[in-house]
């Protein structure tokens, strides 16, 4: 509850001429922001409780509601902004670390928006994706260094462990606990239908979702929640979570109040006990320890599953990636600083980590310089907003991208960033049964499949425009990118030329 001194950030505006007193808004708001005043026979709102999730706006049958940013202002001050002032007051009130959710909302350069794509013209034809073959199939995994032949001279088909995707997009890790079961089911079914993968996150895998194992990446995080041999064998790949873009360097904490019922069962911890994910894996204090964990998982699954190592994009990400590429891992997932989270300290989320575009470019370059790029596939994530971002990421060097926030938005999220309260009105970031019910997986998975299909077609259009009909010819093809409004250093790190060159 905010200090009364802080005026609410958002105001609920009700058009009284349209309002019919149907009270749907009252029923739908888990924060109690709407109330029906029986004596006055009209609806009223408590702006202090509004988190701007738009549930009431969407549910109002007569469009009587809208949420506006308050125009109650502090005296103009570009340095001591209202935000800074309010945050200090909150901390003076509570004495606590400011907690927030989703990804970094602050003003840092968005490199994707400063990169432009090429199109073929005259000297080389563009390709029509609707009428000519256009291949988006991707294999993630290590590639052998040398072709080996058998006694008869035929090539030995010993393809290293890999996962096959119909398009270069996967659904990123979001734990069962941070999001609801219905959200997880939607992700699992969408991945199965679209021919891609989704990720369990660190909360284990619910029994009922085991049947989607072929499209599941099972995560092994520092808390090792729900990790046992059946869990490991059920997935198509195993991801070791070393870091997360939204909160590099720190762990996670799901309060005991949320560890009930199936959450407790899936994570295999007692009900009511906190679920703490330590910051480092306490058995990995150096790069060789990571190699040990990678091989322990390979042994545990009889060398049948590719291993992914997920790291946050930090300053020496290129060197870390080089180490991982030599550790026996098959795939490296890099999460940029725009990555989402169910809960993280605001200061860590907003000030730690680097943009995925720069991290990706330098990792790809470093691995090529060392001649080991083909030992791992690279998956890039952290704020992928559209198919254009996907294409740019691949041209910078990624094999595939992870989408998290975009997937949740498809399921109904309106980015109110209040996931940590556990009262998600859309049934996504909550465990309250009455709220979870609102997200119907039959509807949810179709929304995700729609999004993926739409992006797939857009990716094909952009590829065709560049005269490319197979996604592997786009990978690392930096000549297809040009920068605008970037300085020399940025262009150098991204490895692209400036528009006009």
């Amino acid at each position: 509850m905010a200090a009364f001194d802080i005026y609410p950030e958002y105001e609920i505006v009700r058009n009284n001429e349209r309002c019919t007193n149907c009270r749907v808004c009252e029923k739908q708001c888990a924060n109690g922001a709407h109330i029906f005043l029986t004596d006055k026979n009209r609806m009223a709102a408590d702006d202090d409780k509004c988190v701007n999730c738009h549930r009431c706006v969407a549910m109002c049958p007569v469009r009587a509601l809208k949420i506006v940013k308050t125009n109650h202002t502090f005296r103009e001050n570009l340095y001591w902004t209202g935000k800074s002032i309010k945050e200090i007051k909150r901390q003076a009130e509570s004495g606590g670390v400011l907690l927030s959710s989703m990804g970094n909302p602050e003003t840092y350069p968005v490199y994707f928006d400063k990169i432009l794509l090429n199109a073929s013209q005259v000297t080389n034809p563009s390709i029509d994706p609707l009428r000519e073959p256009m291949e988006t199939k991707v294999y993630l995994g290590s590639k052998p260094d040398k072709v080996v032949r058998d006694e008869k001279g035929r090539i030995k088909i010993d393809l290293p462990l890999h996962i096959k995707l119909s398009m270069p997009v996967m659904l990123s890790a979001m734990s069962y606990g941070s999001i609801s079961y219905n959200a997880h089911e939607s992700l699992a079914r969408a991945a199965a239908e679209a021919g891609i993968m989704y990720n369990t996150g660190e909360g284990g895998l619910h029994e009922d979702l085991y049947r989607y194992g072929k499209n599941t990446i099972v995560q092994v995080a520092s808390g090792r929640f729900g990790v046992h041999s059946r869990y490991l064998s059920n997935g198509a790949a195993i991801e070791i979570k070393m870091g997360q873009g939204a909160k590099p360097g720190i762990g996670g904490h799901l309060p005991g109040s949320k560890i009930v019922g199936d959450i407790s069962k899936t994570r295999m911890i007692p009900e009511g006990s906190d679920a703490i994910s330590p910051a480092p894996h306490h058995d990995i204090y150096s790069i060789e320890d990571l190699s040990q964990l990678v091989y322990s998982l390979k042994e545990a699954t009889g060398y049948t599953k590719p291993i992914i190592v997920k790291i946050a994009a930090v300053h020496n990400v290129a060197a870390i990636a080089s180490g991982i590429a030599r550790s026996g891992a098959d795939i490296i997932a890099i999460d940029g600083f725009r990555g989402g989270t169910g809960a993280a300290p605001a200061r860590i989320r907003d000030h730690v980590g680097i943009p995925i575009e720069l991290a990706l470019a330098s990792v790809d370059k470093r691995l090529r310089d060392e001649g080991i790029r083909n030992r791992v596939s690279i998956v890039a994530g952290g704020g992928i907003r559209s198919s254009a971002d996907v294409v740019k990421a691949i041209a910078l060097g990624a094999d595939c991208v992870y989408i998290g926030t975009a997937a949740l938005i498809a399921l109904g999220c309106h980015m109110c960033r209040s996931c940590h309260t556990g009262k998600c009105n859309w049934g996504i970031a909550t465990q309250r049964e009455d709220l979870v019910k609102r997200l119907n997986p039959d509807w949810g998975y179709k929304r995700l499949v729609n999004l993926l299909n739409a992006w797939k077609h857009e990716i094909m259009e952009m590829m065709g425009g560049m005269g490319i009909n197979a996604i592997e010819s786009l990978r690392g093809n930096r000549l297809m990118l040009r920068g605008v409004g970037l300085n020399e250093k940025e262009l150098e790190i991204l490895g692209i030329k400036h528009a006009g060159e």
Partner: protein, 362 residues
């Protein structure tokens, strides 16, 4: 501006003649053939590759080198003396033509790697020679090795191919295989080294088209020690073929399945063993897939290969008469040197046509 400082998209004409029996014939024919396709070039580049032309030195590497000036020549020759046994050398004979201007010094050397140096390097002979070529081309200013195979040579310049052929007195050479290239670049290259064919050891490539996967291909192949200094498609294609053949041991048919890989939908219809192999090759060498229009003729010791991209966006015709095989961008270029053909056809996209010397020939 030299080739290598910018990308130079271009269109072109290509032609190739091969004798399966190894019978050597004059370079006059290939000149006549490429001349017919005059309209496909714009006079800014032409060149030829010829095989079997140095039988008296067939075990030695024949380096053809451009020098900007005498100083480059001296520095380069010092390097060569350090690394090779120079068995013979001379200026490549040329004919003065008004159409061929700004000629550099053009010299030819027959070399064998110095045994001690070769042993020291712990490389096989081919790798040793390639490293030396790279060192000259990137390290010695004004010197450029444009041909480095045994019993073969590349002859190229800025000009229409038929003029280039006459300039080099190609009609005086006899070989069992000749390929030719006429270029239509969109930038003006002043420098001869950028003309085609591109050659590395005994592989020579003439190429028509502009590939869209260039940077993806280049950044992959450079991981394996190759240096794409010219920024041309032909250079990267030649390196890819050399890498897949010499370092990965793939045969030409397998190489075609990598660089012009069939579509997944087509692979799915093939019989099991073939499907497995195609899937394996496509997966392992995915960034070596060459995307975009291309039509190439690859010359190598003892053979020639013609290949189109998998959508067949460029034209290519193959003709046969007795033991002779002809390949060209246009049928007319074949008919003009051999009017009656036993067989003439257009290869399908992605299917390489490979011809080699019959056993016991040349």
């Amino acid at each position: 501006m030299r080739e290598g400082m910018f990308r130079n998209p271009s269109g072109c004409a290509i032609s190739g003649i091969f004798s399966k029996s190894g019978k050597r014939f004059s370079g006059r024919q290939i000149i006549e053939s490429i001349a017919v396709m005059h309209e496909r070039s714009n006079g800014l580049g032409g060149g030829f590759a010829a095989y079997g032309i140095y039988p008296e030195f067939k075990d030695h590497y024949a380096f053809h080198i451009f020098y900007d000036d005498i100083y480059a020549k001296r520095e380069c020759e010092e390097f060569l003396e350090d690394h090779f046994d120079i068995v013979s050398f001379s200026q490549i004979p040329t004919r003065k033509l008004p159409e061929i201007k700004d000629t550099p010094l053009i010299w030819r050397y027959f070399l064998a790697p110095l045994p001690a140096k070769l042993a020291d390097s712990q490389q096989d002979e081919g790798e040793y020679v390639i490293r030396c070529v790279f060192r000259i081309n990137t390290g010695i200013k004004g010197a450029y090795v444009f041909s480095s195979g045994k019993n073969m040579g590349v002859f190229k310049a800025v000009g229409f191919p038929e003029d280039v052929g006459r300039f080099y007195r190609l009609e005086e050479y006899e070989g069992y295989c000749f390929t030719a290239h006429g270029r239509y670049p969109t930038n003006t290259p002043g420098w001869w080294g950028g003309a085609h064919p591109f050659a590395l050891l005994d592989f020579s490539v003439v190429h028509n088209g502009e590939i869209s996967s260039y940077d993806a291909n280049r950044r992959t192949i450079e991981m394996y020690g190759y240096k794409c200094t010219l920024q041309t498609d032909t250079e990267v294609i030649t390196y890819i073929i050399d890498y897949l053949h010499r370092k990965q041991g793939l045969d030409l048919k397998e190489i075609c399945s990598v660089i012009a890989a069939p579509f997944w939908s087509v692979i799915a219809t093939r019989p099991h063993k073939e499907r497995e192999e195609l899937e394996y090759l496509r997966c392992v060498f995915d960034t070596l897939l060459i995307n975009g229009p291309f039509s190439i003729i690859v010359g190598f010791e003892g053979g020639m290969m013609a290949l189109n991209d998998r959508l067949k966006l460029r034209s290519m015709v193959v003709g046969e008469k007795d033991d002779m095989v002809y390949v060209a961008s246009e049928e007319a270029a074949i008919r003009v040197i051999q009017k009656d053909l036993d067989r003439v056809w257009s290869p399908k996209g992605g299917e390489g046509v490979i011809v080699t010397l019959e056993k016991g020939s040349a």
